[in-house]
């Protein structure tokens, strides 16, 4: 709070005081009061007003300065009421009490929405697990009765399963979630799972998979990481070009403070202009329009999961030559200390 603003705000009081003072002095003068006495009265009068203003200014300044300081410094500004002393002046008290009521009503609203959100999240998670049961049945039925069902049916069921996983991890990446467990994992175990999962697709499209991982271990959540690697692998398969020799290479690169997992393909690549935007939500770009079956969510979810896990996800690509995706795992000192 600035003195200038305070004075402008109290301009009316000052002007009224001055006008009334002028009247009183005029009356006193008319009644032949000695000039010295008028000067003394005038002095006392103005001293009172000035002292009052100074006192009022500083108690208000103290309150508002502390209010704004706390609003600035708090991560959650709406908690500011808890940090304030009850102000000694009426305006401030009324202001605080109004703020308290507003805050309370806002919190109740937020709480309702949070509960709705939580219920929805729980239902969604439950639903995904429920729907996986018929999906599992379908895959089993398919395997047991190969004579009845067409291979195409199985592929469609697998597509459904992939989309189900996408929404499950989207929900986990969006809403602050505790459904993860960080531990030491072998990168090869992750690649093993994902390779098996995509085996039929890779063989059918005649894509060679070259893996070179040398037993590296990293610290992460294996389910989340499996999802991320699977999404990247799916993209590589989806955007493969019709070359003679189609290859997806997976290898690691060790640096001082991090290990990089690199997934490299020789597919159609991503146009230069689209590259900075591939991690944006719902971005499909040129390739997405080409295939018409892109939600633009896969990489976005991967990126937010990586951010949560503390990994760095980067992508590099040249049109017609291929795409390289790198996940960097930094040494997690905290994990090893607390272990």
């Amino acid at each position: 709070m600035k003195l200038k603003d305070y004075l402008i705000d109290h301009m009316f009081l000052l002007i009224v005081t001055l006008i009334f003072a002028a009247f009183i002095y005029a009356i006193l003068y008319v009644f032949k009061m000695p000039t010295d006495a008028i000067i003394v009265i005038c002095f006392i009068h103005f001293l009172t007003v000035i002292l009052f203003l100074i006192y009022d200014f500083f108690r208000k300044k103290k309150f508002y300065d502390s209010l704004f300081y706390h609003i600035q410094s708090l991560d959650e500004a709406y908690l500011v009421l808890e940090t304030l002393d009850q102000p000694a002046f009426l305006d401030g008290q009324l202001f605080c009490s109004a703020l308290y009521d507003i805050n309370k009503s806002m919190r109740e609203n937020v709480k309702t929405i949070e509960n709705q959100n939580k219920d929805f999240k729980e239902y969604l998670e439950l639903w995904i697990h429920e729907i996986k049961i018929p999906v599992a049945s379908l895959l089993l039925m398919f395997h047991n009765h190969k004579d009845i069902y067409d291979e195409k049916v199985k592929k469609q069921v697998e597509v459904i399963n992939n989309y189900l996983e996408q929404i499950l991890y989207y929900e986990r990446s969006e809403i602050s979630s505790n459904d993860y467990l960080i531990k030491e994992i072998k990168l090869m175990d992750i690649i093993h799972t994902i390779a098996l999962k995509n085996m039929n697709l890779l063989l059918e499209k005649n894509i060679s998979l070259e893996v070179n991982c040398d037993n590296e271990t990293i610290v992460s959540d294996s389910k989340w990481l499996e999802f991320i690697v699977n999404q990247i692998m799916n993209n590589s398969i989806k955007y493969m070009s019709d070359k003679n020799k189609k290859i997806i290479k997976i290898y690691t690169k060790k640096d001082n403070d991090h290990i990089g997992l690199i997934i490299e393909d020789n597919g159609i690549g991503i146009p230069y202009d689209d590259l900075p935007k591939v991690f944006e939500k719902s971005f499909t770009g040129y390739n997405g329009r080409l295939l018409k079956s892109s939600t633009g969510m896969g990489l976005y979810i991967c990126k937010s999961l990586c951010t949560k896990l503390g990994h760095k996800l980067t992508i590099d690509s040249t049109v017609d030559l291929g795409t390289t995706v790198t996940i960097e795992f930094y040494n997690n000192d905290y994990y090893f200390v607390t272990k």
């Binding site: 996986k132 895959l139 039925m141 070259e210």
Partner: protein, 220 residues
């Protein structure tokens, strides 16, 4: 014949699982009264239990703990939940393996065989007719003759021998190879099989591996 107990509450999956296991030469028992799960499990004396985590009356993990207090029977946990914590808990309560739904049926059979093999105390040597198989060294020995198999050839030979006299599809062979981190393609599989066939031929087992077009391979 190994007896497998299926603990799973979805009827369709129960039946399809039983069928899958029967097709692969297992005897199956389905747990149908979940209110006395633990009694039935102990009475059945199965060689392996395939157990879902989400079952009525009792949580699969708790059931597993109760089983472990009284029995060492191999248990493979199956779940549709995708949380790391379930896997870690299951393994720490003494599960032998953990598979996520929806699973690859071929892989499920491979895992069951692997767990059974680990837990049943097999004799050190396995035989193919009168030849001795040395798994550790990847060698097959018949009288004075001996052949050395590569890792991939060994995996293929293994699967074929386990199903001796029966057709093994290329998909099953491929899954077994990829499960051992040999990510080979179709051509490489064909090459590996013909090499294996030649090597077996040099031991005197001429044309031991037959190709059934469109179906797979059969070891005689």
């Amino acid at each position: 014949m190994y007896k497998i107990l299926i603990v799973e509450d979805d009827e369709v999956i129960q039946n399809e699982l039983a069928k899958l296991l029967q097709n692969n030469g297992f005897e199956t028992v389905i747990l149908d009264d979940f209110s006395r799960s633990i009694e039935i499990i102990l009475e059945t004396k199965a060689d392996l239990i395939l157990m879902d985590i989400n079952i009525p009356f009792i949580n699969g993990e708790t059931l597993l703990r109760q089983i472990r207090e009284q029995s060492d029977v191999p248990v493979i946990m199956v779940t549709s939940r995708t949380q790391e914590i379930d896997e870690v808990l299951s393994m720490s309560y003494g599960a032998d393996d953990y598979i996520m739904k929806p699973y690859n049926p071929t892989l499920l059979i491979l895992r069951i065989n692997a767990v059974l093999k680990r837990t049943m105390h097999h004799s050190q040597h396995e035989y193919y007719h009168d030849a001795i198989i040395n798994n550790q060294r990847g060698i097959i020995k018949r009288q004075q003759e001996e052949i050395v198999l590569t890792k991939n050839e060994m995996i293929i030979f293994h699967i074929l021998r386990e199903n001796i006299g029966k057709i093994v599809s290329r998909d099953e062979l491929m899954t077994a190879l990829w499960d051992s981190n040999s990510f080979i393609n179709d051509n490489a599989l064909t090459v590996n099989i013909s090499r294996l066939r030649n090597k077996l031929g040099s031991l005197g087992f001429v044309d031991a591996i037959e190709t059934r077009k469109g179906l797979g391979y059969i070891l005689l």
